[in-house]
Subunit: 338 residues, 2 copies
Amino acid sequence: MLSERRLQVLRAIVQDYVGTEEPVGSKALTERHSLGVSPATVRNDMAALEDEGYIAQPHTSAGRIPTDKGYRLFVDKLAGVKPMTQPERRAIQNFLDGAVDLDDVVARTVRLLAQLTRQVAVVQYPSLTRSTVRHVELLSLAPARLMLVLITDTGRVEQRLVDCPAPFGEASLADLRARLNSRVAGRRFADVPRLVEDLPEAFDVEDRGTVSTVLSTLLETLVEENEERLMIGGTANLTRFNHDFPLTIRPVLEALEEQVVLLKLLGEVKDSGMTVRIGHENVHEGLNSTSVVSVGYGSGGEAVAKLGVVGPTRMDYPGTMGAVRAVARYVGQILAES
Amino acid sequence: MLSERRLQVLRAIVQDYVGTEEPVGSKALTERHSLGVSPATVRNDMAALEDEGYIAQPHTSAGRIPTDKGYRLFVDKLAGVKPMTQPERRAIQNFLDGAVDLDDVVARTVRLLAQLTRQVAVVQYPSLTRSTVRHVELLSLAPARLMLVLITDTGRVEQRLVDCPAPFGEASLADLRARLNSRVAGRRFADVPRLVEDLPEAFDVEDRGTVSTVLSTLLETLVEENEERLMIGGTANLTRFNHDFPLTIRPVLEALEEQVVLLKLLGEVKDSGMTVRIGHENVHEGLNSTSVVSVGYGSGGEAVAKLGVVGPTRMDYPGTMGAVRAVARYVGQILAES
DNA sequence: CGCTGGCACTCGCGCGCGCAGAGTGCCAGG
DNA sequence: CCTGGCACTCTGCGCGCGCGAGTGCCAGCG
């Protein structure tokens, strides 16, 4: 077990390194943080911290930098979440309030997160599976061709073309539309399958094929998790770490382009609470030198999607976590209102 | 006026420089291109080309590199568009054919363009203004609250909430829906305003307020040019020019994040034909060391949106132009089919 | 027992130097 | 007008050196 002071030393190292982006030495530490002990003592503590694997030196006779394990301890035990100031909160709210539709909400959220954290922001569109159905619309495009439009409570719209096995009259269409909506409107996606199970039985034999087709298309749309979209922004912030440059930025950009990777990344987040994945804790290799701070957000109590930021392991964790949490909260509010 | 051989020298310089990414000297030129003259002669030609501003040397006693003006001449006079090979065409078609909806088409197009050209791809969503209306749907969400859904021939869906001045019955709603569609379905956006002009008159006095509100919302949606969205991809390709690195990649990433900038950029493209903007021809400063190759695409004969790539001025113009043109053509086909 | 000041040691980084090589401009001759 | 030759100019690179930051260790002190 590490003594209290050693933890403070670790905290100081993390803070200084995040601030200066340079390995921090014992002397600088005692000067900038009043630890009440001499550099020599700090050196001993540092040696101990290094033995434990919390810090490392890039080369012999250089200062120390935190390891992933060191950041982990810092995040878990040594630092809280720095709450946003009142003006910041207000700015967030103002910025998000101007959004006109779901796309706009997501776009603004990305910009906001990127600006606040000065890192790469990732925002997942509100997921279908957790949402409820606001309305289902059926349009006749051709005698045997329908368009199915699904509108969710988060304002998301999904559309699918349906080729009918047989022509489908306007009357039947209106009937199906009415029955469908009376059953599923306001219901959670998860409940829809059993709510429409017996629907074909209410129709004439010749229409049942089409009804079944429409229903299966609807159900497909509901479960199409992989269709989940996301938006990223602030990639220019990657260029801020000029140091260890091209080696690190390349794989990160590549990873960010792989939506699948990102979705998996966010998917690992637990529903509530914030997740911080530091360096090698990220399974994707391209992200081994980055940290990911993510959190779920939602319109009600429950999370419908995730958002987060990707940045260097050397990041301001308290500030970033504060920003991510605050943004998630306000986005949730906005979604609930609309 | 430049002699034929000097133009050939310029062409050779551009080609070599694009290939090697290094300033090209007179000796290397004569070795790799059978110009039939000696290095000394080429040197004279180079001096002339430099006087005219087509090439420059980064430092005294280095090889020459093309200037923006040199690339311009190359693109205009010295190089054609390199057509895609048969297998490439087929690959493009296969890749795009798998798309399930508009988002998917755009996403695939971006990926495809980025892969083919190994550069940053930008694809604008099919614009509303040029499109035609496929269907307008009205849904009653609450007694005095409607949702207006607009479906375009390119498969794009726009939705708007409408707060009615007065409650609006189901019968009126159905009536309005039917009348609206009979008038505007299949029509071009530009024609819609005059087609619905007198629509309120067909309704009872108490409903006219609502009808007018719905109509004005519809018209707003139609003209909302600024709502135009786009998708970008392949930013990881920016890291390929390791040379003059962080100086150039930063502003480019920033420019790419400014959707407004990009939209303006693409907007400058003339409707038909390909546009190549080289280096300083781009008004946006961040893009002064890049070239933009863009072209309109559309489902019919007419362009409904633009797409293109952003890359270093030192790019393979014929190949890039070929890829951009081919992709645009096939995307147009896909949109026409769906 | 833990903290401190002192001291010798290590090693990365920046700087200056010199050399090799590529490329140029110019000139005289064909 | 083209060509071969020649002198010149730079850049990039490798090398060696010295500085300085930072360390580890040790002996002494409270």
